[in-house]
Symmetry: C3
Subunit: 353 residues, 3 copies
């Protein structure tokens, strides 16, 4: 267990903060949180689901947040805080116990190479070995991790956070408070060629890549710029690791794109779309607001708003589940039908030459 | 809309360049291109497909390239250039209107660390924080973006372009005019182990990784070196983002590998193979010339030249489509067959004990 | 063929090293290894499988390791070493012929930025432009490639190898002899949000990311830290390129995770699990010891130890193969059943209104 040291808190104070009651010693202190089977001295754990009750027995946690039905469940740990929803209590405690990561300094690291024509707000942190191109603008509050490359003319709003080794191609636009994890590439050329004279001739990509406000992008993603149009990602959309977004794609607000999802060129996603892991959307397809795609779904046609689709090629989830169930029993069922057909036509076999 | 400023061109000059005729004011000027629903003052748009006619009505574009059948379609914008194929006209205009990106300088950035035994042509641009290893060779015209790592003994032909943060492992070979987008890793060790003495023992990877001429590789790809053999990618092949190519794979000329495709070890691809998004090819399989794999296809056996395959496990596309259609109607059809079998054997139910 | 120069060895010495017998001139020398169809002068090749016998005919290899049944197979190359298992012989020869890559120097490159509070063993190599954070610890024997970022408080055991441009987020732990290929990101925030007040609110990720001993991780992978729990990868596990591992995942010892595999949050994998390429495991699922997942498998439920599963949704491989076979013949079979049902109920058609 890594020691992510938090603030030391009294159980009584924790109970007050989350609206719970202490059972045991309210003066005890905890300074970090861990699951039942990994928690030790000085650590707070929690129990909310019946399946984890057995883990309470041997848990070495200093104290445990429990829901009322488990307040007397057997276990080594006598110090408990009884609260209606332990998981929500944990979420409320996290900011009290753990300091948010903060910028190591304000200013530009002496090793960074910043073009003189870039506009850098005074209240920024640009870490070691960053490269900032001509005409780029970085708004106040930014935290640019080590070894980021910010292309010519890129525009970063306020409070943007780039983790280390992010590449923003020229003219990429990032809205306020948008965060990008390590290794993601924003604004690379899309995959567009015309076959002519015996070769795939590259289509120049002169469009932009416009990322909204409050977007978070995971590690090692690739988001292409538009060819002539822009690639656009709406405010509040969250993107997991290793996601691919092709040229000219337009994604609405508050979408969730889970790891290894991929979206082909010129697809349109409405607001609140959820793509589960390893799902994909074909080019030029329109996916309506609040559509959910289950894991590994491959969309090849438009989907109306509000629906849940799955499978390959994607269909409404319920239909897809019926097909999967039918497929699972198909081999045995085929045999049974063959038998029944023979029984139904007893003379059939004789008829065959 | 990001302002990708192009050259300001008169409509009359554009019409002359693309073989069209001006309808409206030929003296008007445009300096960039955008789709109908995003274009504004000073921007040229285009209309080629009937489905986009409604967007013309409210388009704020300064001028529009239209095909003859839409020359009088209703719309705010009175200045039009009528041309047989507006999309081809746009492709022809792009190089006139937009300057190709050019190297910011010629020479080696003072922060770059270049081994004295490397051979660097005088006509190269090596940007900030690059690392060039012992014995590496970089040909004339190269543009090496910031923070690239070029391993010992790597050989780069003429006019190679590496976008920022590319890694070339030792002894990688790149042909003339090959371009690699940000974050791609070329020549990493393949995934090869032998289980012995209770551990997965690593097989040393002493093979090479040879990329041909005029290849383009997208962002965040991973292309392994060979174990004993080389990994080879043929001239003119284009590779999208987040593609994985394993050790000893040999890919022919002029292939297109779309995003998130993966090729397992020692597979062989002929010339002109097209892999659509998220498709995969198993190890040691041979895929013939001009084979097309539809999106999400998983190949586990050889495919003859010229065929289109799909599905998992991959089969000829037409057969696969028939199976998918059958699967979609299977649940209801099963019910109908059960009913028909009961009808056909009315005494059946009585027979069951 | 790239010239990966090895040591020059006499055939007689090679035969002695691998327990084989020379056929031809034992004084001949070879200094590298290549497959039959690519080998040339001075190169050793091998022939173990009947399918490659035709390649022997024209092989330009200087010498060939052959299994006894092929010792007289026709071919240009007269100098052969007959050995029971040529492939194992090659593996034994690799370390004799090829030098393992070695650190270019011992010490910290003058361009690296190392926080004064970091603890760096004297016997390390930290290459150009690395950034090492506050409180980080790097054990003896480490080889940290160019442009790596090692976050605050990260703990690296002995003999760790990071290839160029790896990011370790704060507090990541790596065991002894663990190797990470270029571009992998370890310890990034997991994909966790709570929808509240009209936005996806980020759940702080305060857990750790603990990688065991003798782990190897391929290029451009993304392994998230835990939310409250840790993400844990067991000793001796090997991970291929572009693999995604989400927050709180626990992976046992000696697993093999092939390229583009993905594991969703809080999944548990036992020891010796094999995930073939592009396979995926859903969140909170438990996969037992020594389970094998075939390529492209999508697991959505627990799997008992020792089983081989495939398909989507995953089922036991044998069942899945039966379903795939049934699906392939389904369209024609449906037609046949329809016909048989009509034959079995000749009056049926008349009954329809």
């Amino acid at each position: 267990m890594t020691d992510s040291q938090g603030a030391s808190l009294r159980l009584a104070d924790i109970a007050a903060a989350v609206g719970g009651t202490v059972q045991g010693d309210g003066e005890r202190r905890v300074s970090s949180i861990a699951p039942l089977d990994r928690a030790g001295a000085g650590q707070l754990s929690f129990l909310a689901l019946p399946k984890y009750v057995p883990l309470l027995a041997d848990s070495q946690a200093e104290a445990v947040l429990v829901s009322p039905e488990f307040k007397d469940a057997p276990g080594r740990c006598a110090h408990r805080i009884v609260v209606a929803k332990p998981q929500e209590a944990i979420l409320a405690l996290l900011p009290l116990m753990y300091r948010q990561p903060v910028r190591p300094f304000v200013g530009v690291h002496p090793t960074a190479v910043v073009d003189p024509s870039a506009t850098i707000d005074a209240d920024v942190c640009i870490e070691a070995f960053c490269v900032v191109g001509a005409g780029a603008r970085i708004g106040r509050g930014a935290w640019i991790g080590a070894q980021c490359v910010i292309g010519d003319g890129a525009q970063l709003g306020a409070d943007v956070r780039l983790h280390p080794q992010v590449t923003l191609y020229p003219r990429v636009v990032l809205g306020d408070r948008t965060a990008i994890h390590s290794g993601s590439r924003i604004g690379s050329d899309g995959f567009g060629y015309v076959f002519r004279d015996g070769a795939h001739q590259k289509i120049p990509h002169v469009g932009g890549c416009v990322i909204g406000r409050d977007v978070e992008i995971g590690a090692n993603c690739a988001i292409d710029r538009g060819s002539i149009d822009d690639t656009v990602i709406g405010d509040g959309t969250k993107i997991d690791n290793l996601v691919h977004i092709a040229h000219n794609v337009r994604i609405g607000r508050l979408c969730l794109l889970t790891a290894q999802a991929g979206i082909a060129g010129s697809a349109r996603l409405g607001d609140g779309v959820v793509m589960a892991g390893q799902s994909g959307i074909s080019g030029h397809v329109t996916v309506g607001d609040k559509v959910t795609l289950t894991a590994r779904t491959a969309v090849i046609s438009d989907i109306p708003a509000g629906e849940t689709w799955g499978g390959y090629p994607a269909r409404p989830h319920r239909e897809q589940m019926r097909s999967f169930a039918a497929l699972a029993k198909l081999p045995d069922w085929m045999k049974r039908v063959e038998r029944a057909l023979r029984d139904a036509s007893p003379s059939r076999e004789d008829e065959t030459p």
